[in-house]
């Protein structure tokens, strides 16, 4: 399956799972909103051009916004992490040229610790920005802090479960291929 087809299917699946499964869960607490959809952006191939990455992030966030009637909220957060993603990968990649050998970020391609850092930082950024925009409307500082930490915790848990359930095989690619 080509990258384009695979990522288009992923795009639709991530939006649908977020809207029709995760957002339908009755709220356990006002701090807890289970978000996982942005994992799509973190899973995009290394070779995606940076302009395209930002654009895909924007469109991806906007399509979720259409379902949740909050135009621009998720789009802003997704654009931010899509833009910052290449910088983070450049810092975290273990050796020169590793992004040439593998297709997309995963535990196999980046190593456990760098990949975990990569997920943690972008999840935290995404949730902080999202809650910050929401917080401008309502809430106190403790609400802001509590919600950022709680949503990040839940997101990390969901990402861990997803990584374990859907193990992505990453083939080592030689230069000749």
């Amino acid at each position: 399956m080509s990258d384009l087809v695979k990522n288009t299917i992923r795009f639709i699946l991530f939006i649908f799972i977020q809207v029709f499964v995760l957002l339908q869960i009755p709220p356990l607490h006002r701090f807890i909103v289970p978000y996982i959809y942005f994992l799509y952006i973190l899973w995009l191939p290394f070779r995606t051009p940076r302009g395209t990455l930002t654009l895909v992030g924007f469109l991806f966030g906007l399509s979720l916004d259409f379902f949740t009637v909050s135009p621009g909220l998720h789009a802003a957060a997704c654009t931010l992490i899509a833009y910052l993603r290449p910088f983070l990968i450049n810092i975290l990649i273990p050796q020169e040229g590793a992004e040439q050998n593998y297709k997309s970020p995963s535990i196999t391609s980046m190593g456990l610790a760098p990949y975990a850092t990569y997920i943690l930082i972008l999840t935290l950024l995404h949730n902080t920005y999202l809650v910050l925009l929401e917080w401008l409307d309502v809430g106190s500082f403790w609400f802001f802090l509590g919600k950022v930490l709680a949503t990040t915790g839940i997101s990390l848990l969901l990402i861990l479960v997803t990584e374990l359930l859907f193990y992505r095989k990453e083939k080592f690619r030689t230069n000749t291929a």
Partner: protein
């Protein structure tokens, strides 16, 4: 000139990112302020179709609860039927026509339209739900929406066949309500904490209020008829520093299981608004 092009080419990615951010923030803040965005009308047609399909499946799981609520509502309505009451004077009979005016001068003020809720959210700070009636069915902006058990929200955006309503569970929702027992009016809003409870303010301390008292919509509301239930008092917060009570209200509408709704049209809204605006322009 050449330098400007070079600058743009060099920082293209950053500039592109900034533009995207500004677009996103612009629609976010404009939508919140004015409650409407032209593109949402188009979008709600698309997402509405997906939501309607999903709702078809979900509908079966909630049939039992929806049925119970409808049975109770039917019972109440049946109790209000005209034939339940005997007139003291049997020679005089009295009919209410469904036309707007009849010869006795009765007029219709409220018009009810049934609708189905096809999408609903409760876990955000600003919650909305979508109903399957739109402009073609006569739904317009600012109409009230009630559920079988109480007030549910207000229509804010309308497309051809669907409409989005701002639920009571929205930080921007304001509702004029009163105590059924003593008739004191106050304002009801949501504090964003728990989807089961609303907050009511501006009730003077001179009045008596107890746990369990009923809160209904007041006659000052232009969106809802008088006497639609809003909720019941769950807790009376007695703030010593203020002359007003703050009440915590258990919502009458079960927002977790919103299935059927009724859109309410006030046929005299335009007239009332025109009259009230005429004072402002005179000043």
């Amino acid at each position: 000139m050449r330098n400007i092009f070079l600058f743009i080419r060099r920082y293209f990615n950053f500039l592109f990112f900034v533009v995207m951010q500004l677009v996103a923030l612009y629609i976010l803040f404009n939508f919140n302020r004015f409650h409407e965005a032209a593109f949402l009308g188009v979008a709600s047609e698309v997402t509405g179709k997906v939501n309607a399909r999903y709702n078809n499946i979900e509908y079966y799981f909630k049939l039992k609860k929806a049925n119970e609520a409808l049975v109770i509502e039917n019972e109440q309505l049946r109790n209000q039927l005209r034939q339940n009451f005997d007139m003291p004077d049997t020679s005089r009979r009295f009919f209410q026509d469904t036309l707007a005016y009849d010869t006795l001068g009765h007029y219709r003020k409220w018009w009810f339209m049934s609708a189905k809720v096809i999408n609903n959210s409760i876990n955000f700070q600003n919650n909305y739900f979508t109903v399957n009636r739109g402009a073609k069915q006569g739904v317009r902006k600012d109409m009230g929406v009630i559920s079988p058990t109480g007030v549910a929200g207000t229509i804010i955006t309308v497309s051809d066949n669907m409409a989005i309503a701002m639920s009571l569970l929205n930080s921007q929702s304001r509702l004029s309500a009163k105590l059924k027992k003593s008739g004191e009016t106050g304002q009801v809003f949501w504090d964003g904490k728990n989807p089961n409870f609303l907050t009511m303010v501006n009730l003077p301390k001179s009045m008596q209020v107890n746990k369990g008292d009923t809160i209904i919509t007041s006659q000052y509301s232009t969106r809802y008829p008088l006497g639609i239930m809003v909720g019941s008092v769950a807790e009376v917060v007695d703030d010593k520093s203020s002359n007003f009570y703050t009440l915590k209200i258990k919502t009458a509408t079960d927002f977790y299981n919103l299935e059927h709704a009724t859109v309410v049209e006030n046929l005299f809204k335009e007239e009332q608004k025109k009259l009230e605006d005429s004072i402002k322009t005179n000043e």
